[in-house]
Assembly symmetry: C2
């Protein structure tokens, strides 16, 4: 049982938090931005310092590899991303990169014997905050292995043409060309050279904290659907149009949202989560009755039968009367539950138990690059407790102790995989 | 009893509809835009053709005056605006200008005797679509006469500094300087030179059409309030945060909106109108539980006691529990019911009766420049039937016959005022 270094991990957290520091505790570090390049250079510097070989593929993914003793053994990769959302925190994504670095640094410092080459990896553009979509580059790299309905959204040419949300004259392809990090396609993660993938990530929820556990042994990424619920009414002047003749699309949507909550709550599935995060209202002027409203509904649960029941409720909105408005329910996308490799999940659980770290099994509600990688390689994830369950915001926080425990669990799980 | 010309009115409607033609039946004609200047030049050309004197004040209001026979008599002004909302129709505002032109043209053509000088006027920037607020320039001109709480929003310096919603580097003051229509302050509408004001406008509601009446004799502009209802929750990841711990500001707002509708409907005031037209959601991302939602609530009724009861319901949202979110209700603005001058309302009613035009008394739910003018001069309005009650949209329509009837009623009402 080996242990990672709290001191070295704390130093990394402190250092990486300066790259994109937004001035009030968090960061904005869009993929391939100047700030992200500072983080990439820090990764390169620290990995070269322990003798790792650096490779960069054609979509700017970075790989730092320590050779193993068996020249025929494939690499074991530990990967996450270094980009953030706007005004994000210092842990989402970068913790997985720092944990992978910490594993390699510990292996190098303690001269831990290993057969397989061990690789720490940075995925490009996981958040998709500047150039949508999220998980863009794992979508490109794992393209041939993805289910067809997912694959269609990650065509290389489309991804290169993805426009900056801040400046539509700029594309992801141009940012890639200008980054200095466009390497060789032959270095892309692939199943011929790589055996397994591990990803450490913050939990992004309060389950571990509430249970008093430090580490989550992740078993799956929850299945989900994302639909749009649309209401078509009639615009008219707020001051002159009688109530009885109105077709108010916003009032219709408020009624439907309350109905959806009431009906779904009756299903009584405590592990189900569902969210309306986005609403579009037209024309959105205080003196005009809205003629169009469109809201999102995102639902997640391990069991597809539960999701089916939830979807039936959402779809039933089409058959009901909402303030004189027509309702149309449209699928945006969905995914089935993705289970991690059982053997690797077992290694993580054993490693946590042997290290005496408080842990539990947990599902991932959010998507991660590991999810796409899992269609190509045996893959698993480790979660680190998130304070108050907060993420994608500046107060996002995990203690240095928990972060170091996460790296220790990954190190020992990787060594179990190495020892097969 | 004099009659206006259907042919001439139809020609004006057709001509003005080309200035800002958006290509599918409506117009976009922002105040002081190239399109609005074309409309102003058309006004000038036609008014000069009948011998009217053209004056322009320092805030680009245009006045075309036919002298009367009594050199001591003050002017009677007929006024409206030629600017539109984005993708508006061919009647809102401009109908009042065309009706005023039509009255002067009829007076000139039929050599109708009149003691008072008669003025057709264009108000600048009534819609405030490009440079907010609405009714900006009547606010400036009538400033000294307005109630203090309204006046504060129309300070000259603030209005000149109003930024374009399309290009925040441009101000209304700059647009005014560049327009070629910045004249002399001495020409502003004022009670020393002007006796009465009339404004003809489309109804913007379905009341006349439903009742089978062509013309509305407007008696008041309804009192109203506009409040913001705000919900403060907690952002968290849609996929990872348990339902029981959420503080979802959007669900809170949907519940509150349904509550407000239920409670207000219990008051059972059929003439009351209330609207939530605007909603702001933060961060408005489909994978994030919203932490802030803010919606508008606009309510209008003649009787302030009814509005008080409605406001009490809206304010009671602060005392209730909404999905774990705090609710704050804030006043944006309000106005008391503004009654038109009874004598002028009587002239309009008599004129319609004498012309055999189907008419009824009606309230105005919307605000108009006439409302601010009424604090300075005796003022009244005439409504023309709106097809389907639609306005501020491209299908906005009134028949040429009804438009001409509106001008005929205004002409004869003005002549009654002239004959006092």
């Amino acid at each position: 049982m080996y242990k990672c270094s709290l001191e070295r991990m704390s130093d990394k957290i402190k250092t990486f938090s300066t790259y994109g520091d937004a001035g009030h505790g968090g960061i904005t570090r869009y993929s391939l931005s100047e700030e992200a390049i500072m983080a990439r250079n820090e990764f390169k510097k620290r990995m070269e310092a322990i003798g790792a070989i650096i490779e960069v593929d054609d979509v700017a993914n970075m790989y730092a590899t320590l050779p193993g003793t068996d020249p025929t053994a494939k690499r074991i990769v530990m990967a996450s991303h270094c980009d953030s959302v706007k005004n994000g925190g210092n842990y989402d994504g970068i913790l997985g990169v720092m944990s992978a670095m910490e594993v390699l640094e510990t292996v190098a410092e303690q001269q831990i014997p290993h057969k397989h080459p061990l690789t720490a990896m940075i995925w490009t553009n996981e958040e998709g905050s500047l150039y949508p979509p999220a998980m863009m580059v794992s979508g490109i790299v794992c393209y041939d292995y993805l289910p067809e309905d997912i694959r269609g959204k990650f065509k290389y040419e489309d991804m290169m043409a993805s426009k900056s949300i801040l400046d539509p004259t700029k594309t992801f392809g141009q940012a890639l060309d200008a980054s200095g990090f466009k390497g060789d396609k032959k270095y892309r993660l692939n199943p011929d050279q790589y055996e397994y993938m591990f990803e450490t990530h913050i939990e992004q929820g309060p389950i571990l904290e509430d249970a008093g556990n430090d580490i989550g042994v992740v078993d799956c990424v929850l299945g989900m659907f994302n639909y749009r619920v649309k209401f078509y009414g009639q615009a008219a002047h707020a001051g002159t149009f009688p109530m009885a003749k109105r077709k108010d699309a916003l009032f219709a949507s408020a009624q439907a949202l309350c109905y959806i909550h009431e009906e779904i709550d009756k299903l009584n599935h405590p592990e189900l989560v569902y969210t309306t995060g986005e609403i579009v209202c037209h024309p959105c002027v205080h003196t005009v009755i809205p003629d169009f409203v469109d809201f999102s509904i995102d639902a997640r649960h391990e069991d597809p039968k539960v999701l089916e029941k939830v979807l039936a409720i959402v779809k039933s909105c089409e058959d009901r009367e909402w303030a004189g408005c027509k309702c149309v329910v449209e699928k945006a996308w969905n995914r089935d539950t993705v289970y991690w490799n059982k053997k690797l999940v077992g290694y993580v659980e054993e490693a946590a138990t042997e290290a005496g770290i408080k842990h539990q099994f947990i599902h991932s509600g959010a998507g991660h690059d590991a999810q796409f990688a899992s269609y190509m390689l045996p893959t698993t994830m480790i979660f680190v407790q998130s304070k108050d369950g907060l993420s994608h915001c500046e107060p996002e926080y995990s203690t240095p102790e928990h972060c170091t425990e996460g790296a220790t669990v990954m190190l020992n799980a990787v060594l179990k995989a190495d020892a097969e």
